[in-house]
């Protein structure tokens, strides 16, 4: 068995690293810098928002022939979640003969670095981009950099260098042939360990003397079993929330269960009418899934966070965290999403609109978890619109995000579902606004009626990101915009 207690094993540039005796909350960044002395990767913020720490995390591809990468923020990823994976840092790029990766070479030539502190992260974000997109357009380049702050250059030479690097497509791919056999060697078990009696034994990756653990199961059965036994367990997927708690509040959860190795939770099942999105499916995957059916939802997800955030954060994680300004929820509420909740071997269905009971509170019972999110595919005539308003377009927190779904029946709005975040203690539908819209011809909807419904629906409260006056005005204007543009089409 490969699951050796208290040892995190990962591949780094053709070598297996065995990290022993580390805390369950040690971050990948701290380990790389302090133990591996790979100081090229920098800490800029320790909250996944500046990108100075971007590294590429690899997993054996499905065929077992190569490595699939995601750019991640090493500062918020916990080291034990690397178990069974590989890492590429900025130091991995230069070839033994001294040749720089084209992205590096062009960054030099185009004057893409000034103080240089953000540069390793920017290089890694771009190198990661060109692994899958060898000819990115300008928008794809800037999107890949949406989580990389540079305070010196004004970005222009960085964008230029990315474009120019792609003139050498043959040199863009990383050579990771040496990593593949090693990834196979350290691959985590795909079936649970069973006791003599047939009971599931979840092997910890890290276990402390006090009995605190970091576990990384492979099956839903293990997840369910472990959660029943340890109902206070913190579930970890993208680490975009837990990483912050660890870094900023010095949180030390007793039990941490990483869901990234649970194959069944990383899959999307599909019927004619519904996508069943597993709890560990990343936002990037969801973005691709809904791109055609619900382009506004895909755009909200694109603006949800940077690629390192989107490629690790999950839809179920966003829902479970239940932040009042969670961006996926208004879209999911307008689309009538259903949650499959599981405790032990029992599952139940709860509509997302019935899930929250208060600020960061939900109907989830002790030991229960979200197994999947069910999202309906669009029906004929269904209009779905969504828009997020924030100070900055990319990687920012919403002032409000609104989403609507409806059809037009004889020129009248029908089956209206309208939801917002940022207006109430949890993202929610706005029934009084829906009532103003339902059955009306779009042209007959009056702004004043929406204003009255907003005033009646929500408690006016100024927030960190916007005053109430602004939020209320935007909430009304977005509702009008959502139906107005349809009016022009209809």
């Amino acid at each position: 068995m490969t699951q050796v207690t208290n040892t995190v094993r990962f591949v780094l540039d053709g070598q297996i690293v065995e990290a022993q005796g580390e805390r369950r909350t040690t971050t990948v960044l701290d380990y790389l810098r302090e133990q591996m002395h790979r100081t090229g990767t920098k800490e800029g913020c320790a909250e996944g928002d500046c990108g100075a720490c971007v590294v590429m995390v690899g997993e054996l591809n499905a065929a077992g022939t190569g490595v699939d990468y995601v750019a991640t923020n090493a500062c918020i990823q916990l080291l034990p979640s690397l178990d069974g994976k590989s890492v590429k840092t900025v130091e991995s790029l230069k070839k033994p003969d001294g040749t720089l990766h084209p992205v590096q070479a062009e960054m030099v030539k185009c004057h893409g670095s000034q103080c240089g502190f953000c540069t390793p992260g920017i290089v890694m974000s771009l190198v990661n981009l060109v692994q899958v997109l060898p000819m990115p357009n300008r928008q794809q380049i800037t999107d890949s950099l949406s989580g990389n702050l540079c305070r010196c250059t004004g970005y222009k030479p960085i964008i230029d260098s990315a474009t120019k690097a792609c003139a050498k497509p043959e040199a863009l791919k990383l050579d990771d042939s040496a990593d593949v056999p090693l990834l196979k060697e350290i691959q985590r078990a795909s079936v649970p360990t069973l006791s003599l009696d047939g009971d599931i034994i979840v092997q910890p990756v890290v276990r402390t003397k006090k009995g605190n653990e970091f576990v990384s199961p492979a099956t839903i059965e293990e997840v369910a079993d472990y959660l029943v036994k340890h109902p206070t367990t913190t579930l970890l997927a993208g680490s975009t929330e837990i990483g912050l708690q660890v870094n900023k509040q010095y949180a030390r959860p007793d039990h941490i269960m990483y869901l990234g190795n649970v194959k069944a939770l990383r899959q999307v099942a599909e019927t004619d009418k519904v996508w069943r999105i597993g709890a560990a499916v990343s936002l990037t995957q969801v973005e691709a899934l809904v791109a055609k059916a619900y382009p506004d939802f895909a755009e909200v997800l694109r603006r949800f966070g940077s690629p390192p955030i989107r490629s690790t954060a999950t839809l179920a994680g966003n829902i479970a965290n239940g932040s009042p300004i969670g961006d996926s929820m208004p879209c999911l509420l307008a689309l009538g999403a259903n949650l499959v909740l599981r405790r032990g071997d029992k599952t139940r269905n709860v509509l997302l609109e019935n899930f929250y009971t208060g600020m960061k509170k939900s109907v989830l019972e002790a030991g229960e978890f979200i197994e999947a999110v069910e999202l309906a595919k669009p029906m004929a005539g269904q209009v779905f619109r969504a828009h997020k308003v924030s100070k900055r377009f990319e990687q920012d927190i919403s002032a409000t995000c609104a989403a609507i779904s409806y059809t037009l029946q004889g020129g009248k709005l029908s089956g209206v579902k309208l939801a917002y975040n940022g207006l109430s203690p949890f993202p929610a539908r706005a029934p009084q606004l829906e009532a103003v819209l339902e059955g009306q011809a779009p042209a007959d909807v009056k702004a004043a009626d929406l204003d009255a419904a907003i005033a009646a629906s929500f408690t006016a409260r100024d927030g960190l990101r916007a005053t109430w006056a602004y939020r209320a005005l935007v909430a009304r204007n977005l509702a009008l915009e959502f139906i107005e543009e349809q009016k022009e089409v209809a």
């Binding site: 810098r33 002395h37 790979r38 100081t39 090229g40 920098k42 800490e43 800029g44 913020c45 320790a46 909250e47 500046c50 900025v90 130091e91 230069k94 720089l100 590096q104 960054m107 030099v108 004057h111 893409g112 670095s113 000034q114 103080c115 240089g116 502190f117 390793p120 290089v123 380049i141 800037t142 950099l145 949406s146 989580g147 990389n148 702050l149 540079c150 305070r151 010196c152 250059t153 004004g154 970005y155 222009k156 030479p157 960085i158 964008i159 870094n247 900023k248 010095y250 828009h387 308003v389 100070k391 900055r392 377009f393 990319e394 960190l464 005053t467 602004y470 977005l478 009008l480 915009e481």
Partner: protein
Amino acid sequence: MNAPTALKNLLPASGVQQGTDIVHESAHLHVTGTATYIDDIPEHAGTLYAALILSPVAHGELIGDGIDRAAILKEHGVVAVYTAKDIPGENNCGPIVHDDPFLAAGKVEFIGQAVAVVVARNMLYAREAAHKAKVLVKELTPILTVEEAMAAGSFIMPPKGITRGDAATAIANAPHKIKGTTRTGQQEQFYLEGQITYAVPKEDGQLTLYVSTQHPDGNQREAAHALNLHTNDVEVICRRMGGGFGGKEGNASIFSQSAALAAHKLQKPVKLRVNRDDDMTITGKRHDFRIDYEVGFDDNGRVLGADITLMSRCGYSTDYSGPVNDRACLHIDNSYHIPALKLISHRCKTNTQSATAFRGFGGPQGMFGIETVMDEIAMTLGKDPLEVRKLNLYTDPAISGSPDTMTTQYNQLIEDWVGDKVIAQVERESNYAERRAQVQAFNAKSKTRKRGLALVPLKFGISFTATHLNQGGALLVVYMDGSVSCNHGGTEMGQGLNTKMAQVCADGLGISVDHVRITATDSQKVPNASATSASSGADINGAAIMNATTQMRERLKPVAARMLGCQAEDVSFANNELHGGGKSVKWADVTKQAWLDRVGLSVTGFYMTPEIKYDFTTLNGRAFYYYCYGAAVSEVEIDTRTGEWWLKAVDIVQDVGRSINPALDKGQIEGAYVQGMGWLTMEECIWDKKGKLLTHGPSTYKIPVAGDIPEHFKVSLFDNANLKPTPFNSKATGEPPLMLGLSAFFALRDAVAASANHKAVVYMDAPATPERILMACEKAKATAGL
């Protein structure tokens, strides 16, 4: 030898380095992650780690020394904890006035003020202990805003002012008047590398401090004073910073002194690296300003008189607030001749972080004030703001008949005025007139989206306003193999100073840049160096290097003359060779021969800026050696339903003199524009009612990202030699282009005005967040009756 006061004897040997786009000397290290920042230096065995315990209240009296020492010492891994009481010498990190304790003594005056430094066996233990520690304090009522400070008469220094002519009468007699208030926001420097010091004790009580700082000399002196050492006992080294922007000019001392104290007490290496949240909570930001104005003008929009009151939030201590506010006063004219002016500048003391240096240093705030006035005059008269701006420009005395039209409010005659030419060039290059028509056509058709366009000029004075700081030093060392090591008092924070200095040095010796290594800034190599700030780096250090290379040439000429068989005065330096008598000899052969001939191969260079003479108490005189000029055209689009906006296009023309390195200068200009744009739009500091900064990380404080940059982002350098003999007749580029970002803000105002069909004057404070844009649209529409 004292400094040369003119550089005519310091002309470059060959000039071949002039205007070459060589890449940043560390670029190959940046992209491979091998450039060493302070936190990357391999640590000495036994290194300990420090964290700061911060005040949780904005104003309070500490009980005892503010902490429960015994409780903190019991925390896991903790080795020691120190407070103000443990400082053997002076407890100060104030760069000018010594009113700024680096560890709070008796009282705390803002949320985030360091009360104690905890030292532990690893970083996490230190931070956990600091996080857990209770500060023992009796809370007092804080003063948090400019208004509260004005009402309470709470100031860090007395007000200053400038009076020119009789503004009151001019305004009273003017055909038109405007009166209003506007505000600019604070701005966090957001250097990507946070504040850090690694303090290493050396034998016999000495200390070496590796500090991420723009001012090694300041850190050195202050640490020496704090520890009752001599300055020569403390060495400060800084190879590079991961950004500074003014935030590591004075503020680095807060951290370097605590680290030095702990290292000195424990005689162990101590690293103090604060996390981003603490960094943003502790350190000062750009001063936010309230600007009250009353202006009289004629039918054409010509300003006749202005009464302007500046009120800035300086925080709890003096820091650089004196010169910052002075510079705001000295830039209230921007590029405009204000014939009658009454200007008052109040420097408010508040229970917030001590506002500090930030690129532009008060200049941007002053210029924001007068540009608001220009914009409002144009809106009042229904004119294109560019027309009003041009009308008010400084005017050649040959045309106006009076030197007054080329004289600033502080009585400096402008000798190098090219402002009108720079505007003309950017107007031409951006097709301003055509673009204005396109914007109008778009706005006529579009109901919910509106576009705006603005051209804003800039004139920025170059010199430290504290005259004595205008000095530079260098150490030039030549080895017998011909390689050259050059050190100067400036620091590298990304601006490419060391690259330019290598060019200046190489040029001065007639050798290629690859012969020259600029070494880490080290207070033991060049003493008493001024901070790298005020855009002065290349001017003063470059001139000092030129002085050094001139001396070195004089030493090498006789050596080469003997080798070449010619007269020493006939020897010239170019192309890695020394030439004379029709023959050439290799540079490296000369340096080897010089060693054999026992010629000293190291010299020091020095420079002081000539001519400046300025009285900072009255804000009067020749404050600046020269001016930089620039102008930018920005085009934006807003959504009048949400206030969201998009930067569509930027055209810039910037005067950098004869550029030493155009590529680096363009990099400075682009980066500065974006930083200025960020200041005026998306970057917003938000505080709660108790004085706690709520935006203390990049998740809540948003600086521009790549997606905010328009595809059309064109920068041209204005072809203009500096009239003053700076290195290669170049001009400073660090700060001036930041103010080009004003054009983005005024383009937004233009778009907001368009939402009300230009029928109302727009009132909008900075930063122009989507919220302020939407609310300004609503207000303008209501005023216009739409």
